[in-house]
Subunit: 227 residues, 2 copies
């Protein structure tokens, strides 16, 4: 029997705005009008503004005093920095996972891995991405470190738009799958150090795609926040 818990309005609103940003309905750098969003969601300004404060502290939007909110524009450097961080976090997750993971959990991840390989052979990119993400989540989860998971999830949220961009060169894809091949082996051998190293490099590689995809603007293009 699950508790009835009325989620606060501001949380609901924050989720919705997050979606809008993730989907690109709110473009980077775009000014966010409070009135407009209030009407869109059918709520008053109070919960909306509370939601905006939360999103700002998550790094998704920036609040300019007396001038409203705007979606953060990702610079190349910001994304690079974030990837470095996520690499370090995935590395730690891998090490911890090898210490804590059960045989059962390994089997689950192995199953996901094999499923991902099938999607790769079928050239089914959407499903590949989905399963791929679940593998990484599985490792994070096996680390049994909630603070780590939460932190990673926040960073991931920030760069999601870029990360799962549609472009994917065939060459990179092959390389990513190869990484995963090594990963599952290291995991099954419970070789934390090696798994950590692979995960670190794995994420770093992804940056290449991102920058190639041209989704990110160069850091020279704009640095709104530095005014």
């Amino acid at each position: 029997m699950s508790k009835i818990h009325h989620r606060s309005l501001y949380l609901e609103v924050a989720d919705r705005v997050r979606e809008l940003i993730e989907q690109g309905d709110l473009a980077p750098g775009e000014r966010i009008s409070e009135k407009q969003l209030c009407e869109r969601f059918g709520v008053s300004r109070t919960p909306l503004r509370e939601a905006l404060k939360v999103l700002a502290s998550e790094g998704l939007i920036e609040l300019l005093p007396n001038r409203g909110a705007r979606v953060v524009r990702l610079t190349l450097k910001m994304v690079k920095d974030t990837y470095d961080l996520m690499g370090a976090l995935e590395g730690l997750a891998g090490e911890l996972a090898c210490q804590n993971i059960s045989d059962e959990e390994i089997k689950v991840i192995r199953a996901l891995h094999d499923e991902m390989l099938r999607h790769y052979r079928d050239r089914n990119l959407p499903d590949y991405f989905q399963v791929n993400q679940r593998i990484h989540e599985g490792i994070l989860s096996a680390s049994a470190n909630e603070v780590l998971q939460e932190t990673y999830s926040n960073l991931n949220q920030r760069v999601k738009r870029v990360r799962y961009s549609k472009k994917m060169t065939d060459d990179f894809w092959r390389k990513a799958v190869q990484d995963h091949e090594h990963m599952i082996l290291a995991l099954e051998a419970r070789d934390g150090r090696r798994l950590g190293q692979i995960l670190r490099d794995h994420l770093c590689n992804k940056l290449e795609v991102a920058s190639l995809a041209g989704v990110i603007e160069d850091e020279t293009t704009l640095d709104v926040a530095t005014s």
Copy 2:
């Protein structure tokens, strides 16, 4: 000529509440009364509540729907997890710092290091802590990764109460200074890998003190959030 920028009230309030938590004026697990704080700061509930939302997303307090806010109680596991994370982040910072740091910056850190040694010899714990922190900040800063700095700073904030607790065994202190001796050498040699490893272990050690100090309660004591 510096711009006149009127900081928003909610930011001011958030800072003040952060201080209260850090100083222990608001005890862990203590219920935060909105009215009380409003009167204390002389502001209305609106900016206060916005500040509370921010602090909640920073992980300092937790908001129970219709039941107000309370200061997060640190469990031993939470602190352990956070230390693991901070270790990974400091490690990354060390590696990046070795890539980016200028000779000038190294000299500054060396000077701080020597100053810290003097405080150690004088058994001046407060000043030791202060300079020690500035060294770590220097390395973080030399990493030239703002996302990393921001993330680290947030995690640090959460465990500050514990971390800079008054207790400090003589044995641990000696060991910490020894770590720093190795650190400065690795930094001057620009040996990123080694510096990273040292920083990681360095932080891990600190956990011993924290748990010894008995400031943290065991995870069995309470897990309020898991209701």
